[in-house]
Symmetry: D2
Subunit: 318 residues, 4 copies
Amino acid sequence: MLVQNKDQRPHDYTETDLYPRPSHADYTYLAKYGVKASSGGGRASARETIGRVAAGAIAEKYLKEAYGVEIVAFVGSVGPIALPFSHEDDEVLGKEYLDLVKNVTRAEVDKEITRCPDRATSAKMEETIRAAKARNDSLGGTVTCVIRNCPLGLGEPCFDKLEAVLAHAMLSIPSTKGFEFGSGFRGTTFPGSQHNDPFTSDHGKGENRLRTLTNWSGGVQGGISNGEDIYFRVAFKPPATISQTQSTAQYDGTDGVLATRGRHDPCVVPRAVPIVETMAAIVIMDLVLQQNARAHAASLLAPVTSLPPTMVFPGQRK
Amino acid sequence: MLVQNKDQRPHDYTETDLYPRPSHADYTYLAKYGVKASSGGGRASARETIGRVAAGAIAEKYLKEAYGVEIVAFVGSVGPIALPFSHEDDEVLGKEYLDLVKNVTRAEVDKEITRCPDRATSAKMEETIRAAKARNDSLGGTVTCVIRNCPLGLGEPCFDKLEAVLAHAMLSIPSTKGFEFGSGFRGTTFPGSQHNDPFTSDHGKGENRLRTLTNWSGGVQGGISNGEDIYFRVAFKPPATISQTQSTAQYDGTDGVLATRGRHDPCVVPRAVPIVETMAAIVIMDLVLQQNARAHAASLLAPVTSLPPTMVFPGQRK
Amino acid sequence: MLVQNKDQRPHDYTETDLYPRPSHADYTYLAKYGVKASSGGGRASARETIGRVAAGAIAEKYLKEAYGVEIVAFVGSVGPIALPFSHEDDEVLGKEYLDLVKNVTRAEVDKEITRCPDRATSAKMEETIRAAKARNDSLGGTVTCVIRNCPLGLGEPCFDKLEAVLAHAMLSIPSTKGFEFGSGFRGTTFPGSQHNDPFTSDHGKGENRLRTLTNWSGGVQGGISNGEDIYFRVAFKPPATISQTQSTAQYDGTDGVLATRGRHDPCVVPRAVPIVETMAAIVIMDLVLQQNARAHAASLLAPVTSLPPTMVFPGQRK
Amino acid sequence: MLVQNKDQRPHDYTETDLYPRPSHADYTYLAKYGVKASSGGGRASARETIGRVAAGAIAEKYLKEAYGVEIVAFVGSVGPIALPFSHEDDEVLGKEYLDLVKNVTRAEVDKEITRCPDRATSAKMEETIRAAKARNDSLGGTVTCVIRNCPLGLGEPCFDKLEAVLAHAMLSIPSTKGFEFGSGFRGTTFPGSQHNDPFTSDHGKGENRLRTLTNWSGGVQGGISNGEDIYFRVAFKPPATISQTQSTAQYDGTDGVLATRGRHDPCVVPRAVPIVETMAAIVIMDLVLQQNARAHAASLLAPVTSLPPTMVFPGQRK
């Protein structure tokens, strides 16, 4: 019920001939294109993401087979109900949260109807969503996503930093309001001495690469992947469609009351999970192709001899 | 002192022949390109933003003259010191914060050395930065930016939503960790009934357009500007360069201790303010050109006759 | 018969399991993608141009309504049969050819089954095509196209000159071998004193713009349209598919004889006419949008006062 | 003298304050941008190609080292003086012309001041250029270019066919009027039975690839390189700047006589040779990067098992 939209009732929207729905795209589309969509949402509907998911499925399959990349997203909060262990005072992010990011599987995520893999939190979320539905209201939330085994060296150094392209992709999903990766906004409150990620060869034994002890960088340094887990959070606003009467102006400027009818999803966050995953896969696939072009080209030249002699880096010319 | 880098001492970095600096781009650049930058930071240095600021100055001048666009950014937090009134429990964002977003000028911002326009907070920030400097540590923070008088109808409906392009631009600035616009992450905790922005003709009297009573949407609905203030926050991590010894691995995998010397900025957030403004100007300028191409093309055709008869929208064919 | 392909017989191609067809894309597609198309031509088939024609129809409709743009293409030669008056010794191009370019209509073109609007030449072409068909051979030819009433100022000054973008578009049509505009290859043999196009105000009376007496420039100077007719020729090779036995190698390098069966078009040039027109429309539409973005943006600024005072140019700020 | 411009005399152009020079970009730039360049040619001057040559030098060096690519261009005609053996009646192109394309070296080209490697023709060209100079006139001509050892599989199948991208690049060079590759316009007059290029394993012995007996395709089939020589011709118009008086209109529409003074190159074709080479190198480099991205990505997957078993193609998954 939470993850499926079984109803198609465009004719519930008759009042929208008079009213631009608050916080919808009705008004901005009219201002931009000079025409009105004929049914609820039109091009602004998240139904357009179906094509993204189809493309992402191919990208994901490739990344899995070629590099063992794993992409898992889950719901971290719904309205005021959040995973209880996200933040601790003495650390940038809490250990339990990072453990979840490190280990959670899609199977664990999909076991919960809310796609929040913490059983107790999920139960509370479900209850909260049902209550919102009962009072004809809606709820937003956040999705956390992790990309594991991402190859080193992805992302372009200036305008197309990995995090910039990822933020672009995530904020192109309907209803999104924010993006943060690694330590994110929380990380701005900690000093550099706690926030820096020391290198270590411990974790990378046998892999011929350096690893980091902590990962506040979120797998990206200088806009380029460092091989650690890339993790990020995406904020989703509460859906604008609610079945309550709203005092708002008509297209012609007359103040009035809009009483939207019809059934609507009180919370789209659980359904956003695969969209976040698919956009992550598409971004990584694009950057893989870009970096492969460069690395393969370099592989055809004579080796550069000025490198540190004792360590061979992934993608390095031999 | 806070806003200028008077020292150029590349030769302080001799240890970096052996060590990739923690949370810097040294390691990822080597992995990506197979070569090392010859001095601190190389292409990853924020010095590259000088070209962006030059371009943005032209964009901003145009936007001001053609549309009266105003772009003002300010520092909202430095490490743990934040504007005291950002969030209130009973509202998505606090009134004082929104008043600042609505009214703050560049002159007010530049009066403070920290570029935080609240005198008392700025004083605390300065003290905190000096203390961090004294203990050879660094601090991150957040920058809030507002774009006023942005024309309606900017932003493309699907992949290049205004917020997506803006997030891309902001996350392309070195050291950024997150982006949120309008109600942002905070807005995810409120129900739709409180979060929706009702339309009103009150504010737009004589302007022939609808305004919204609240602006949790942050000036963007369905990826397209609605003419209200576009405001957003950008997170900056604490600079990775600190003058403390750090236990970390060498390029060859040997564990060791890196003792970076040299003088470094303990906090770059005040200097990030014009970079945030410039990237905002570049984004809006690009979207203006895109939308103008469409609107000007449409203006040469016969009018569409199926529009609501009582109101003429900006950009609408007459 | 000449302009329709009524037969779909993919199973005629069984020998192509063994043989890459000479001058087809079979071999290069396999080399590029590592897989083989399952039926004749695959992605290399000109059937893909159907989508282009659909897009071009919209562009053409817009250009016609907004600017009165007329785009007409016609067949100028089929194999060795060419319009008799293309070239004269004492001029860059012959007067009759230029008259045709100036005045020919689509109705006149479509009246002839060969789409060559000169009745006598068309009859010879038809005969030649029938003869080629009878001996299981194929014929190439050329298409001339003219764009009338193109707005001034289209085309970007360096890499995306109008002629560069047009050449790109034309050479993207399957089976094309060359592109020339205005005086073309023929114009290279004449001295500058004969080739330059003097300006005159005669032709542009009441239009507030300068015209040129001759038009060897083909409507483009410095990569930018000057408002005169844009005309160009596109070369099409004889179709590679012929129903004759051909001595050629198999994929495995064994020499052999390929006897392609099935019915094939002996000459595709008449059918290329709408494809040339559609690509011309798409190019002009793209450049219109680009230039409109710039011109509309400029129109919002205060006027530049250093212009020649006596003449107002199209697109000029007033 | 022919290949160097030692004079910089912007003040010779004072009459151009009143006159748009015929067949120059003066008028179109003013129409496009609403402002006038302050000296002769402005952005339309071929001096801008210096940056292209710098970029092309790097691309060429890479292509040579990585793939053994050789790019050689030469002057094939100046005004009415052309290589005598370009065309023969019984063949698409003459044997001597194809031999030159196959074997000519840069050293041979650069030995001649005209960059036409045929001694006798070069002498005639030089004489013709001197005569044109003496009568203050100018001459156009054609440049032929060959790309040898181009990797198989370059070029995208639809809009960015190798020849389309190459045509775009060539027509972006100032003063160009046409582009043809392989058999070109001449090839349109021959039947398919003579024009098809049969495959053979003879030429490719030990190379594990098929070759073609003839090469009317010019090294490209279906928009994709087949490993044979890519050769093409580019037409250059006679320079618009001539030191003769010209009857033409002023900017304000007044008819008058323009007497351009100053020294000008009577023929730029010899100097166009390195520009043609550099644009060819840039195009091939771009397509190499695109194809390498795809081929390298494919190389990481399990092999496709449905390929013809007896032959391994370049770039094929093993």
